[in-house]
Amino acid sequence: MLARRNFLKVSLAAGGGLLLTASIPTFTKAATLGAPGPDAVALGAYLHIAPDGKVTITAKNPEVGQGVKMMLPMLIAEELDADWADVQIEQADLDRRYPGQTAGGSTATPLNWLPMRQVGAAARSMLIAAAAAQWSVPASECDTTPGRVRHIASDRSLSYGALATRAVSMPVPDVKDLPLKDPKTFRIIGQPTRNIEVPRIVTGQPIFGIDVSLPGMLYAVFQKCDVHGGKLVRSNVADIARLPGVRAAFEVKGGRDLRGLLDGVAVVADSWWQANRARQQLQITWDEGDIAGQSSADFAATALRMSQGAPETILRQDGNITTGLSRAAHVVEAAYSYPFLSHTDLEPQNCTAHVQDGHVEIWAPTQNPAPGAVLVAATLGIPDSAIKVHMVRAGGGFGRRLSNDYMVEAAWISKVVGAPVKLLWSREDDMRHDMYRPAGFHFFKGGVDATGRLIAFRDHFVTFSQDGAVASSADLGPTEYPARMVEHLEFATSMMPLRAPTGPMRAPRSNGFGFVFQSFLDELAHAAGIDPVQFAHGILGPPRLLPDPPGPRQGPGFHTGRMRGVIDLVAEKSGWGKQSLPKGTGMGLAYYFSHLGYFAEVIQATVSPQGEITVDKVWVAGDIGSQIINPLNAENQAQGAALDGISQALGQAITIQAGRVVEGNFDSVPPLRMRQAPPVEVHFLVTDHPPTGLGEPALPPALPALANAIFAATGQRIRSLPLRGHNLSTSA
């Protein structure tokens, strides 16, 4: 009864010791919003303390380079009062006992900050109870030092290992009564902590999805129609089956879901290179359907035409935009846009599957294993319970691996050939069959009054629909900045039908909105002759919390004081307005709130007379609450996110032509390289708010900060990306 009420279970581990399974209602919303969520989700973790004192903590979430495999165990170990040197970390499989096994939305920190600590605190409390029972003293007289329970009065102590087996029989504490540490006494949380995987990474150990190897495993490629969702009419598959090393080649009839199993031809061989070489000789006739005419150029022309008419939907209206603009001393009108983007995870999509006797075992570098298992079950016509998914370290995610198309392809191919199969996409497969960051077209009007105050702001956002609804990650919310802070404001949208699949990419929506909104605000500041920092102060006004309207996206609101805090910090650290920069060099500021994090960034850039851009330096200031859990990783993530944004801004675009993606490799989608990478200085403003995530929110300000720096350096306003489309080169 007690165990049920507390959602805690203990059992004796195999080989002795304490095994703690915890399933605690989520406190995410409590942590970030101050109130419990409407549907409490359960969270769980494993903790195993062996008689020799080794503490094994299971990391439940997929690791894609964000560092969650370290972060979650650090939270547990802190409240357990473990000695970090005794801690070993194991990666969980997909398992019903662990809710929230996903890597997306920078949610792992706010979702797990409290429950994971409670897991550790519960185990510590039971170890104390076990020691107190052994010594026949009240538990209240005992406390812990790292890895040991002690009784100060009698100067006795016992190691966690020695107590672990006895602790199993102790009553399970009520999580509500568990004392948690005073953050001032943290010894693990807040310490720069090296990633335990790095020794394996630098010695080339086989730890990634692509490295999975099974006895008797075959290698597969899968050729789909480059016009997304095209249907297979006929192929020369019989000829392919006779090529060297090829074990099987067959046609696959898929469905209509662009994120599921699609039509294609599978080639399975003794080695991946043989499979891929045989694929080069495939001749396939496709029915490309009625969307083969779609192109990026047409989308741009259509968007411009739509902007000249009335918008389809008014998302938000404050005051009267016409009145507001008529009262403004300075009015600016500008059209902004950004292109489609591909995620370009460096490890191409892959999955290993073994279908046998109605069961499927899967090894997948995925950010989102649970929907993958459901997809495989539905496609293969087997129950969910017949699927086992191992979450393997992924060589980057960035949102691409939230979809599981590669997983269902691998399972299908394994089922057909009756052997374990590793499916690996080529780089071209990966770039041409992505869930793209949607392009977007924004038609702005803004007005500033004679005192320099922003009084009118309008955006007509022309975006995309898919199957009648707004395309994934192509929607604008009613609280996009500067909404709630401008007297006369209108957000409106219109949609163009799109066939290419879209999806979330690191800081979805924000990665495009940051560029257009923050660039246009900079444009307004300059039109009014006001320093951008002062202009931001004017919009934000006094420190206060602006609550979100009710709805599915309701969050904790937007705090103007936190935004101002990071703007002021980055201005101070960068020497904003205090430096006399040479001709051709300028600084740009941008700030953005996303994924519960407040970030402001300044970029200094130089543009040569020949138009070559050098990004000289980046300053990042972020407010993600009261605790930087692992400062060593936090700095790395913030640097990487800012450089990711710069990489996109400098050179990246996906072009759709005749319904298919033109680009196929890194020669046409240039990633940032060492010679282009500036130093990035990262500062965190620690504030008295619950800790929030860091994978995403440092990215959005980087793109507009760079565009604004180019304006400061040259007077050239950048209203579309990438920069290499503006007679600006990037030494790429």
């Binding site: 990633n195 790095v198 080339g204 990634f208 080695s271 790395n636 993530q637 450089l643 990478a677």
Partner: protein, 154 residues
């Protein structure tokens, strides 16, 4: 046909088509998974290995072209003093995020330091710009190369 190749100091016999890229011989035939596939077009550097000490892209190196050259991969780079210093610097500065590119980065960095014991930023830019880090850990890669260079001098 069978080829005898020198991989990490051992003669290995592999019976594959002569056009098979070294990358796939390493990964799928010899089960040395540390060398990574990223682009298949010498654009990303994830497959960097050493051929007689020089960094090459294994995805563009047919096995028939290797001959008697000595191939060194990430699995054995720690056997050299410089490689060991580079690995130690990578660990000390906690360079990786996802880690997928880092084997290639370490192979290029080790080759650089073998040639230029105290590289300038310009040397680092030149030697390392063929290796893409999608997570953009470039700041730390640069610092780690300098750290390893310092370790090599003492």
């Amino acid at each position: 046909m069978p080829y005898i190749v020198d991989i990490n100091g051992a003669k290995r016999s592999v019976d594959v088509d002569g056009e098979t890229p070294l990358l796939w011989v390493l990964r799928d035939t010899l089960d040395l998974k540390g060398t990574k596939f990223g682009c298949g077009a010498a654009q990303c550097g994830a497959c960097t290995v050493h051929l007689d000490g020089h960094p090459i892209r294994a995805c563009q190196t047919p096995i028939a072209s290797v001959g008697a050259a000595r191939i060194t991969t990430i699995e054995a780079i720690g056997e050299s003093k410089i490689g060991q210093a580079v690995q130690a610097a990578w660990i000390e500065l906690d360079v990786p995020q996802c880690g997928y590119c880092q084997a290639g980065q370490i192979m290029s960095a080790t080759a650089l330091l073998s040639r230029v014991p105290t590289p300038t930023d310009h040397d680092i830019n030149t030697a390392m710009s063929g290796n893409v880090c999608r997570c953009a850990t470039y700041t730390r890669i640069r610092s780690a190369i300098k750290r390893a260079a310092l370790a090599g001098r003492t």
